[in-house]
Point group: C2
Chain length 424, copies 2
Amino acid sequence: MASKLASSNNYSLLLQNPHHNHRGAAGTNNHLRPSAASSPKIKPLSLRCATTAAASPIPAHVGEERIFNFAAGPATLPANVLKKAESELYNWRGSGMSVMEMSHRGKEFLSIIQKAESDLRSLLNIPEDYSVLFLQGGATTQFAAIPLNLCSPDDSVDFVVTGSWGDKAYKESQKYCKPKLIWSGKSDKYTSIPSFDTLEQSSGAKYLHICANETIHGVEFKDYPNPKNGILVADMSSNFCSKPVDVSKFGIIYAGAQKNVGPSGVTIVIIRKDLIGNAQGITPVMLDYKIHAENNSLYNTPPCYGIYMCGLVFEDLVAQGGLEEVEKKNKKKGELLYNAIEESNGFYRNPVEKSVRSLMNVPFTMEKSELEAEFIKEAVKEKMVQLKGHRSVGGMRASIYNAMPYEGVEKLVAFMKEFQAKHA
Amino acid sequence: MASKLASSNNYSLLLQNPHHNHRGAAGTNNHLRPSAASSPKIKPLSLRCATTAAASPIPAHVGEERIFNFAAGPATLPANVLKKAESELYNWRGSGMSVMEMSHRGKEFLSIIQKAESDLRSLLNIPEDYSVLFLQGGATTQFAAIPLNLCSPDDSVDFVVTGSWGDKAYKESQKYCKPKLIWSGKSDKYTSIPSFDTLEQSSGAKYLHICANETIHGVEFKDYPNPKNGILVADMSSNFCSKPVDVSKFGIIYAGAQKNVGPSGVTIVIIRKDLIGNAQGITPVMLDYKIHAENNSLYNTPPCYGIYMCGLVFEDLVAQGGLEEVEKKNKKKGELLYNAIEESNGFYRNPVEKSVRSLMNVPFTMEKSELEAEFIKEAVKEKMVQLKGHRSVGGMRASIYNAMPYEGVEKLVAFMKEFQAKHA
């Protein structure tokens, strides 16, 4: 894509580019460290750039040919977090190792996972009687683990299904308990969320399962039901840490990291401690919450580098002022994009009921559907990628997670207006 | 550790340090790329260093305060692979994204996972009738997945247990089939491997399970049994890609990546295709090989960055000349270390039968066990870390996987001799 630029090995950029040392105070920039083994044949040229590096106000996401990536997950990450990871990749904070090389039982990695948990607890204000587990296998693994841990085979559980992911969770649970679909938005193409008061819950249901934000259909719970029977369990993969949540209302919150808080390969489970310890006999040891809780997520080797990256993201969210501030930014971005759709006089369309439109995933179609392919293609030329909608719903989808800058949504909206003007 | 050096923000090092562009030809060094948005206020200083960067023969593992890390896993990775990952972290090959941000269904990541599989197939000469799966959850998840996929609950399978990991696999399988322990080295503290011809296999056994290299006990199969009934299944987590293997002798080979081929969080399963498709009804969808094989490991979001890192390691192993060359290096390292133990007149001791000593994990104790703590502590001062033995066996353990340079073993052996001279 930028091959002409890439072929130039011009070091001037490093010296003028303020991003390289964007987190200079916190990062150690180990790869710039004097080397004991540097070749004596090459005369060093000394250039101190610390002041220069701190002087520029250019935000980290600009420059270096960074694109705006609207993928639904894995998704864009904060540029400053990536820069910090880059600076520490080869030698983490003077340890002489990459995080990828550290024993998961060594003091270096223990400090990383403990800091990650502590920052997450502070962000979500997680009560003491909840365990935080860093696991593997994505939300899909939890679709099995939850009934295996909470139910006997004959126990009933309830599902309110507002999109494809909730439906997958429902189907997987059929292997391990007796789930009941007490509401499904399928006939309505998953465009709404029911009023919970009107629904009849199964008597003796062990839990009520919801998907807090449906990544494919762009439907998001704005408040949460209070189940009369059992506990509330929520898949928050695609809106985790995008706004404050009252954790005490839930028995289990679980989320794949690869939308808002890190790379793929890490799954976070927040579970009330009294729910742990009753797994069915057929539960694989790696799906048993008791094993992971007792071992602080270190029963076997965890996905160490992914947990480290999540930790950097949590640190960044704390530095932004916490989830109240993050939510404000997300509301502003969502408003900008939904308004653009509303004000297009039907040129662009979003099918979801206004009150439950997702602030994370915005699917939209065009009145003239034959233009959609061109829209997506032209957007790529403008360095906005992954705008194609999920194959099951078609059209377009803009995922605008925490790390999507406001400027990215502005650019998309400007492009949408231009495209409309050209094709109206 | 190197805080004095770290506080100096002297860019001259980058210019003189040959490691920074160690893989200049292959890597793109994206973070050095001219930025479209560079600040106009800062005058660029242009310095072309490509020739300088390529000129030095200093190996990548030297310098920059890199330590020798003898951890059993996660473990040391090739320094040049880490340098390449560093150079691509922020912007992968001009894509404008980090690998951590890429959609797993986008063309960029598809090229990464396909190249990784293709290089692994070439390294191990994997026949066409085998699937290669990139999964999550470590070998421990496979301890359940294998019987769930290969057996009905009443099927018998055989285990030859030569260490703690094989024992864990045996115990987990009891949930899903009828395993039989046809040999265990436990009473002998796991120091040997039986002659398979003398063992009686269960009639109708679906498979024979072995752990090809026991990480904790340092016991390694040098050739493999031919089961009379069923197929051979091997956990190769800790010697995967350390030497050539005739894959066609196995039904399943599986391995966590975090010893020889990448960071933790990736599990590789190589399985003969005709074994796929008969999972028990209670199998979690994420443990069903059919789902992963049909979807080329992309049923849900895979651990993308970990797979990318494995791909870089595979590329490096190919560049080294393949596994025959890698095995030669490993034999040389193992010989050096075991000879030092043998020649210590009992000062150092390895309990394992000579013919099956592991070339990957070398546990050893001291005649004067009260000196062991001091040995480990003094080694850290010499920048050799993670030499403490597993808590279940005590003493020391040096893990000398593919990425441990010969110089690391030389340094350890010199240290051992010095230590002995001081305490003899």
